[in-house]
Point group: none
Chain length 401, copies 2
């Protein structure tokens, strides 16, 4: 794990290359009609062939029973203890729309809401006004100027936006304005530690100006702000592991998470095919690549078992393309399970396989939950994945005399 | 784990006996031609029969991916967290040649080197001068006298020696003299903490006198010193577990490691057969025995698959001899894997079995990596082995009311 200072001297820089493919929401659960999970149902000859030649296992993203969000799910795989390094909601929301967060910036998840003439909330989500109606409101808020802090407002989707404050001495330790119920006014922001007073003042000024600018709106005449967050300061992955790591992801949030770990982001297109092309083109320039496959999670979250099966089948032909690059270590992992029958992220251990010259194959017949449970890697915390990668790549030397 | 103070009160002293056989470098990897590991290839009817009657599993010496040296590999099995208790290179080198290290002593790994007339290193290993040439040089250095500290120099092999300083207020926190490259002079020793100034002065005086005494030598006219280390202070195994533990090992380093854990060393001969005889003779005098089998690791480090197979077959007939003593708990474990195909210590989980009246046998067909992965013990940190031993021996009572 990245904080394991005792082994930091054991990491060495070599020519060998590591590719970590993260299939978002990879793990699943059996369909009640067939008793077979999405991976067991999907026709994935290339993943299965790779499993036969790999060391297999299951990863636990955080702890047994704990279903992670995308933040902890990915940070674990990068080697960061997800119970120690926490990315706040506002910061993750900003990463998800490609909003730059510099050290010191504070971000919040904002949404438009509606208040009655007495100032009490009548609709905490402003009738879920669609993006084309909320975008001009965001522009109005983006024009707000406060003395001593830069204010930026970015539309997310429908009634949601990101507020970013940039300036000196800001703090994320301020309270939220959402009272979580209708019929009462939005809350004033209070500092949660003495040094946060200035930030609380800025935000209360922002809310007052926003209320003025929006006062004529029928839906969305007020804002609620929560999830205050600054970017956590993580030990850079490149420094700790002595790697030159790169991230390739079509979706902004995953580029953001790679940035948090201090990977270099390589620009790519909108599909996984684009990502694989980018990997091929940039293969000479880095010794570690994180490449992200999103569709499995999206289908799982939709609760569409058949669609999730299809996303796995769509992924399969790309496996030989990546293997053709002949990486010293090629790993297929997931940030968490997203069983279609749950239509949500879950805590179930996630299939994992690692291919290298030092894993001559266990003959595991297929890449799925049940088969991986019998693999030689066993069940490991996801934070151990990088240790295994480094070891199999010859980049982690003997510990202790 | 030895620091698990919450369960210390649960340890009780009883008449029951525990034998821990450590097969050095036990675990392996499949031979590319056969797909079978060393243990899977070896004809070991007695180990296999014991596996059928035992609880089996795999141990992780330090962490997945982390290949341990002999120090952390053994300390783990004795119950010490190998990330917390660290034996420095100099101390381990001293243990390896039976040099006594008392608390406070500082040891370094030394070697003869050659410098040119300008004092720049021309050969950091002095042409690897053989033992018969270096021994008289060591004797010369051993005669060096410094005011306020006792200096002893012990030959190791070829160009290597151990320097031991004994005195008041010494510190291991001093820098090394080896610049790691030729063409530059040896480095002065600097204190790495304020209280180490005196030790640094002693060492610089030693080096100056050594240079004088060696100045006429063609090869080996100077010394390099590194790996400064004092013996770590470990909670004595006997106190923590309320045991009267003994160590039996033909090789000095493993006697040294047992000493670090505060076992009593029982003198023995040079072969494992001698060790087993010693075990039989001393069986009445202790309730815990660590007995060490070296040849498997040596063959693995040589990269000789066939030879490693043979060492395991050579071990096998001794298993019934140990079982005939009828220990309440008999465990076969390894400090780490040494796959012949890697010719090095590795991080792979290590086969483990525990036989006692309370493990009536799982029917595991053989003692090897794949079969042990299916055993009831599962995959455990090596630091948990002593907890299992104590429990099965009736020496670890219920925790909590």
């Amino acid at each position: 794990m990245i904080d394991l200072e005792q082994v930091h001297d054991c990491y060495i820089s070599t020519e060998s290359k590591i590719v970590l493919l993260v299939v978002d929401g990879l793990g699943g659960l059996p369909h009640p009609d067939t008793g077979r999970s999405e991976l067991e149902t999907a026709d994935t000859p290339n993943l299965d062939a790779m499993a036969r030649e790999s060391a297999c296992g299951l990863t636990t993203p955080v702890l047994p029973g704990v279903a992670p969000g995308s933040g902890p799910g990915h940070l674990s795989l990068f080697g960061y203890d997800p119970l120690k390094y926490i990315i706040g909601r506002g910061a993750l929301e900003a990463l998800g729309i490609d909003v730059e967060l510099r050290p010191g910036d504070v971000a919040a998840r904002g949404n438009f809401c509606t208040v009655d003439p007495d100032g009490n909330l009548s609709d905490r989500r402003a009738g879920r006004i669609p993006s084309h109606l909320s975008a001009p409101l965001c522009e109005r808020l983006d024009g707000i100027e406060l003395d001593g802090v830069q204010v930026d407002v970015f539309p997310v989707q429908d009634y949601r936006f990101v507020l970013r404050l940039r300036g000196e001495g800001l703090s994320e330790m301020i309270s939220e304005t959402d009272p979580q119920i209708n019929g009462v006014p939005a809350l004033e922001v209070r500092p949660l530690e003495p040094s946060a007073g200035k930030t609380a003042d800025f935000v209360n000024q922002f809310v007052a100006k926003a209320a003025q600018l929006l006062s004529e709106e029928e839906r969305g005449n007020m804002v609620l702000l929560r999830g205050w967050a600054q970017m956590p300061s993580l030990p850079p992955m490149g420094d700790v592991y002595r790697l030159n790591p790169a991230g390739i992801a079509a979706y902004p949030m995953y580029r953001g998470l790679a940035t948090v770990a201090n990977m270099r982001i390589i620009p790519t297109g909108h599909s996984f095919g684009d990502e694989v092309e980018t990997l091929k083109e940039s293969y000479g320039s880095h010794d570690f690549f994180f490449i992200h496959y999103k569709p499995a999670d999206a289908a799982g979250e939709d609760g569409d078992f058949g669609a999730k099966v299809k996303t796995l089948e769509d992924l399969d032909p790309y496996i030989p393309q990546i293997r053709a690059l002949n990486p010293d270590v090629f790993m297929v992992a997931g940030d968490h399970s997203t069983p279609a029958i749950m239509a949500a992220h879950s805590w179930h251990p996630v299939p994992f396989m690692l291919h290298s010259q030092l894993t001559r194959g266990e003959g595991i017949p297929g890449f799925d939950e049940r088969n991986c449970a019998t693999g030689s890697i066993g069940r490991i915390p996801a934070t151990n994945v990088m240790l295994l990668a480094m070891a199999h790549a010859g980049k982690l030397t003997k510990y202790g005399p």
